[in-house]
Symmetry: C2
Subunit: 212 residues, 2 copies
C-alpha cells in the first residue's frame, strides 16, 4: 500500500544504473584496461555474469559510461549565448563546469583517462559534434569582441582555459588537497576556486565585472 519512498535502498535501484555507477567509479580509478569486470561487479554487489547480461562486453560497458558522460560537458558551454552579458554568461559557464568536477568527479576522470589513451573511441565525436559546439561558443565570443564587450582575445584559447582550470579540480584532486592541507575538499573550496577562475578569466579578457 504505502511504499516508504524515503531513501531507496541500493538493492532496489535499477540494476543498469547500479552497474553504470560502479563502472564509472572503477574505470575512473583504474582506467579502461586496469579496471576488471570482477571489480565492477563487486562494487555493484552483483555477480559478474549479470554485467555481461546487460552490457555484453567490458568494452560496451565502458563506452556506455563514456557516452553517458559526453553530454554533460556540453551543457556548461551552452550557456554562452550572444545576447547575454559576457560577464554573467562566462561566470555561469565556469560555475557549471566546476559543479561537474565536484559532483561527478568519476565521470570526468573517465573522460580524462580516455584522452590520455588518445581518445580512440571518441574520434568521430571530437571531429563532429564537439567541433561544432565549440565553433558555436567561439562565434559567441567573437560577437562580444566585435561589440567591444571583450578584448580581442583568442576565443578558442579562452574556452580551452576554462575547460582546463575546471577539469583540474576533478583530475588533480590529490595535489590540491595536499596544498589546502585537507582530507577532502569542501564546497567552499570549490566556490573559492570558481571565484578565482571567474576573476582571472573576466579580467584576462577585459570583461567589465558586474558590480557587486
Amino acid at each position: 500500500m504505502n511504499t516508504p519512498m524515503i531513501t531507496v535502498p541500493q538493492t532496489q535501484r535499477p540494476v543498469r544504473e547500479r552497474i553504470l555507477e560502479a563502472a564509472e567509479a572503477v574505470f575512473a580509478e583504474s582506467g579502461y584496461e586496469g579496471a576488471t569486470v570482477t571489480d565492477i561487479a563487486a562494487r555493484a554487489g552483483l555477480p559478474k555474469s549479470n554485467l555481461h547480461y546487460y552490457f555484453g562486453t567490458k568494452e560496451a560497458l565502458y563506452e556506455a559510461v563514456l557516452f553517458n558522460t559526453l553530454s554533460m560537458w556540453d551543457d556548461a558551454f551552452q550557456v554562452l549565448r550572444a545576447e547575454r552579458d559576457p560577464a554573467e554568461a562566462l561566470a555561469e559557464c565556469i560555475r557549471l563546469k566546476m559543479d561537474l568536477s565536484r559532483k561527478r568527479p568519476n565521470a570526468n576522470k573517465v573522460m580524462t583517462g580516455e584522452m590520455l589513451q588518445g581518445a580512440p573511441r571518441l574520434n568521430t565525436f571530437l571531429n563532429t559534434t564537439l567541433r561544432d559546439q565549440v565553433a558555436q561558443s567561439m562565434a559567441v565570443l567573437n560577437h562580444w569582441i566585435e561589440l567591444g564587450k571583450m578584448d580581442a582575445v583568442s576565443p578558442m584559447h579562452v574556452l580551452l582555459s576554462i575547460w582546463a582550470m575546471t577539469q583540474q579540480y576533478a583530475d588533480y584532486n590529490p595535489p590540491i588537497k595536499a596544498l589546502l592541507e585537507k582530507e577532502e575538499l569542501e564546497e567552499r573550496d570549490y566556490d573559492a576556486a570558481t571565484d578565482a577562475i571567474v576573476q582571472l578569466v573576466l579580467r584576462g579578457c577585459g570583461v567589465p565585472q558586474a558590480t557587486a
Copy 2:
C-alpha cells in the same frame, strides 16, 4: 601506430634508458595497471626478463618513471623569484611548463594517470616537497602583490591555473587536435597557446605587460 625509426642505433643506447623511455610511453597510454611488462619490453626491443633484471618488479619500474619525472614540474615554477619582474617571470614560467607538455607529453601523462588513481605513490611527496615548493612560489606572488606590481589575486589559484592550462596540452591532445583540425600540433600551435595563456594570466592578475 608509429613505426620506430629503423636506422637509429637504438641498440647502442644504455639499456636502462631504453627501458625507462619505453615504460614512460606505455604507462602514459595504458596507465599503471593497463600497461604490461611484455608491451614495454617489446617497445624497448628487449626480452621481458631483461626488464625484471634491471628493475625487479613492474611497480618498481613504474615508480622509477614517476620519480624520474617529478623534478621536471618543479623547475618551471622555480623561475618565480621575488626580485624579478612579474610579467617576465610569469611568462617564462608558463613557457617552461608548456615546453614540458610539448617535449615530454608521456611523462606528463603518466603523472596525470597517477593523479586519477588518487596518487597513492606520491602522498608523501605531495605533502612535503610539493607543498614547500608551492608555498615558496606563493610567497613570491604575495610579495609582488604587496609591492603593488600585481592585483590582490589568490596566489595558489593562479599557480594552479597555470598548471592546469599548460598540462592540458599534454593530457588533452586529442580534442585540441580536433579543434585545430590537425593531425599533429606544431610548434607554432604551442607558441600561440603559450601567448594566449600568458596574456590571460598577466591581464587577469593586473600585471602590466612589457611593451612589445
